[in-house]
């Protein structure tokens, strides 16, 4: 019998974290996202500007007036103030929509994959029904049916994007439920609910965490898309809203749409880097040793 005393106890999660820390792009993603989040949370302490107020002549280019470093939009509103104020709602909608996606997708996928039979059939037909609907169109219908607030937008995005998560979860659960430790858990008298929660889902977590992270990026893009089409919450500044309201003047002034677009790009990019980093960290085939 070999004594495993040479390396110290390390949980799979900690091992993944160690792998993640070494992944330079992923760490860069974390730093970038942290910066963006901090800027949107505390930016107003350092930069005092009202994003809704007309403060200057319209279409002031960036870098000309020191008070408005990124210039002004078609109404003469401060773009930098808009970026700072719009980040919070954008990120919040992205995170909330991803959370809703995960809750619906993981629950239905786990039930379908675990119980199989008619439960699986029923849930998968429902999933397919949602999957064949054009997502953006469906989300637009939902948002226009209800009043466009941040909450309804997040709900709409969540409701149209869960099917993929459900399918992924189902596949993982179906794979894991055949493994011997699931039978072993049954053999000590664990009930189904417990087996799903403490045995199957923790083991299915890695791909689901990766998927959740990537879903945040998709949801942010989705929100931007809805706002761009003028279906966002008109009373809340968001990056998508800024692009949408300035898009008509893009040939006259590039900066009112470019800076929010850049902000969206950087956010989604950093989220993707983190997602990819997590994927590598969880994937044992890429691990050293």
């Amino acid at each position: 019998m070999t004594e495993a005393t040479t390396f110290k106890a390390e949980s799979p999660a900690r091992e993944a974290w160690r792998m993640f820390r070494r992944n330079i792009p992923a760490v860069a993603g974390v730093i970038m996202l942290t910066g963006i989040v901090l800027a949107t949370l505390w930016g107003t302490f350092f930069y005092d500007g009202n994003p809704y107020e007309i403060v200057w002549a319209p279409h002031e280019p960036p870098g000309v007036t020191p008070e408005f470093p990124l210039g002004t939009d078609y109404l003469g509103r401060d773009i930098f103030a808009g970026l700072i104020a719009g980040g919070g709602p954008t990120l919040a909608v992205g995170a909330a929509a991803a959370a809703i996606t995960m809750v619906i997708g993981v629950s239905l996928g786990a039930l379908a994959g675990f119980y199989g039979g008619w439960v699986d059939n029923l849930l998968m037909r429902i999933t397919e029904f949602f999957q064949v609907l054009p997502t953006l169109l469906f989300a637009m219908v939902l948002v226009t049916l209800f009043s466009p607030t941040l909450f309804t937008i997040a709900m709409a995005i969540g409701v149209v994007s869960w099917p993929q998560t459900a399918r992924l979860t189902r596949a993982e659960v179906m794979k894991i439920k055949e493994l011997e430790y699931v039978t072993a858990a049954r053999a000590i008298g664990a009930r189904n609910r417990r087996i799903i929660w403490t045995v199957i889902l923790p083991n299915a977590a890695p791909p689901l965490i990766v998927s959740a992270t990537l879903t945040i990026g998709v949801a942010i893009l989705f929100e931007a898309g809805l706002s761009f089409l003028g279906l966002g919450d008109p009373n809340t500044m968001s990056w998508g809203l800024m692009i949408g309201s300035n898009r008509a003047y893009i040939l006259d002034a590039w900066w009112p749409v470019t800076f929010p677009g850049l902000a969206i790009f950087l956010t989604v990019f950093s989220v993707s880097l983190i997602g990819d980093g997590l994927n590598d960290a969880f994937n044992p085939k890429l691990r050293e040793r």
């Binding site: 390396f7 106890a9 949980s11 799979p12 999660a13 049954r186 000590i188 008298g189 403490t198």
Partner: protein, 324 residues
Amino acid sequence: MSALLQIEDLRVTFNTRYGPVTALDSVSLSVNAGETLGVVGESGCGKSITALSVMGLIPSPPGKIAGGAIRLAGEDLTQASEARMRALRGAEMAMIFQEPMTSLNPVFTVGDQIAEAIMLHQKVSADQAFRDAVALLDRVGIPSPDRRARDYPHQLSGGMRQRVMIAMAVSCRPKVLIADEPTTALDVTVQAQIFDLLNEIQRDFGAAIILITHDMGAISEMADRVAVMYAGRVIEQGRADDVLDLPQHPYTRGLISCIPALGKGEDTLREIPGVVPPLHMLGAGCAFADRCAYRAPRCDSEKPQLQAHGHHPVACHAVEEGRI
């Protein structure tokens, strides 16, 4: 007095793409407290299905118990509700699996897993359960158990993991312990340690052990009684010494002659020609007929029944007719 665990005429069928097949056919076994019953046979002859039937873990569908009874201390488990079975599993009967590498949950420490098994059946605090788990790890011979309890399964060797599985299985002092090829995946030296441990555990806890194996050596070391299974039926049953010393069924004889003997200078491993027939291709006759040197026309038309002959019951026309 009836035995602690009594399997009577158990019949298990599976729906397959070839139609329903009978995985177990009129299997009757019994085991008493403190006794070890060895169940031997090649892969695919129904040993594991028997074990899973007792635990109520036959994957259903496609499998189902089509007849017979499994009585644990008089209670028929085939009629028990799922809730009742859950209460019994782990507490009254427990199972040790073949692959210690894959039968532990990789994301929790072994101590937590044993503690969880304890908390499923006993009203104790998490702290107490963990302390009990450490004590159990100590009991199954794991060095520095308090440290090992905080290890994850992948940090332990195969033998250690199987000890952990045993600790988990005996955590609630079950009356029946089913060991499904507990040593197949382990080194020979570790096998001996695990058997010693099972023997000790049995002495301490007085559990009935059903040892499923295809290793005749393990049977001679561990079992009080033996049932030989072939294609879903018990074909020979008796005291371990009798069956090993005076095997009657041609299949049992084959199994025993396959054990390589040290120092006899044999160059080749003996084997029984052929394979276990697929269950959907079983005919009306004896399932072993195709591989049997004593095959007679009757063997192809009539299934031999298990009946007393000589020292112990056997199911073979040739033995019955005195042709062997």
